[in-house]
Amino acid sequence: MNARMKEILVVAVLTVFCAIMYWGKVDGWMTGFQFSFGLSMTVVILIAVSLLVILYLTLRGKLIGRRVVFLYVGISVTLPFFMSLSQEIKISPEVQTLYEGIAELPPGSVVLTAFDYDPPSAPELQPMAESFFRYCFNNDLKVVVIGLWPQGPQQANIAIEKILLDEAIAAKNLQYGIDYVNLGFQTGNEFVIQRMGSDFKSMFPTDYTGTPYNDLPLVRNIKNFSNIDYGFNLSAGYPGTVEWVQVAVDRYGLKMGAGNTAVQAPQCYPYIRSGQLVGILGGMNGAAEFELMTGTVGKGTKFMLSQSFAHMIVIAFIIIGNVAYFRGGRKQKL
């Protein structure tokens, strides 16, 4: 069988698979598909056994290629979606301090949330945004949203819309303009923060719908950072937490916590040690921990199983790689 034939076969198999799955969706028998506990364990054991086989092959001098690694990553992330297994979650200190920082705010405090991320980072940051808003609305904190990334405020709206459907929060009958405001996006990166230090209104003359700043009761009396009780920045890169700390915290003394993608978080750790940040939610784990602290179950908790599996796979391959190295495959390049 030549390469071209193989490719055609792959595409055909994929098409059939998609067709069956889609039929399952339309028909309904596929929805909420779950492995039983026994089957889940069997799958886990099968994966483990196949890894042992790879280890054995490596010991025999047969190195696997990067595509095999790719395949395992795909499997390890996908299968846990359908497994009925649960795991325990522990709270880390930086999440604890962040939570305490918000918990001590009296009702009516104004919280500024800066949405500095776009849809690609949403899996990590959206669960944080949702549980943060849920906490704020449940505890009568007033929320002002801005974004230094163009798509940030849209992400905020998605989160708010979802949270407002919660029964407890729907019962509060929150009003836009009074209980929360979305001022939208502004270009200019850290310069925006800088200018907000003297005047919010000059940077956000209207909210995202075009309502003038002064017609919004919640923000009408907010001049600058001194009228903000707490800042929360969800960031996936530049501009993000580093800029907020450099300008809003260092220059204007804003009290601030942050939710970062896991990659961004290590860079901000020095800021926790130095007290420039109250706390950090790092990655999906941070989101899951925050969900636990605020007593809700969201996607962060749900996806942690896939997360754990993926980590185990990466670790397994690091071990296999080292076995290959010590066995003498030192000159081998993947």
Partner: protein, 216 residues
Amino acid sequence: MRREIPLLITGIVGVVFVIQYFIPHWPFNRMNAWFSDWFSIVQACAIWLGALNLIKISIQKIAKKKKDWIYSVVILVFFLLITILGFAEGEEFREPGTGFTWLYEFVYTPLSSTMFAILAFFVASASYRAFRARNLEATLLLAAAFFVMLGRVPIGDVISGFMPQGAQLSNLATWIMTFPQTAGQRAIMIGIALGIVSTSLRIILGIERSHLGGGD
């Protein structure tokens, strides 16, 4: 002259932007704001140069029937499609329901999310290949990555369950992140900042000037 004037502009503007930090008085207190405005306007003008270049290259490729020229047609078609929509739909081009938004939501977003997501695979293959205990430094790299990776997911504590409270993998991960990691980051950050100070000075003093081109 063509070479001196830009150098002079860079030097003067550079100095002004340093001292504005120390002067709260007008006009220095407005400098940052003005610059951010000006920069975004220049940026928006410059993108015309980029876009025209993209069009030019695509057309060249199509005209010469170079390999894979058909994909240049795709680039052109989609570029023109979203541009025409964006301008035709006017100021409200980003409102829900516009064609522009549709393209953004169902074409742009999935593409960019997926490109970002395939990093997961590369992270795995890079770990497999690079984290090998070749020498002491590589071993430290490997060990730190190994423990933090394990400590960051709940399963780490299941593995280290036999250890006393406070000495589990998640605590180790936190410890590595809070102390040695912070120390390393700090040294890097201080170094970078000094590097930036010196590079900026070289630019302001006109020692680095290749980006301003030759004297034609």
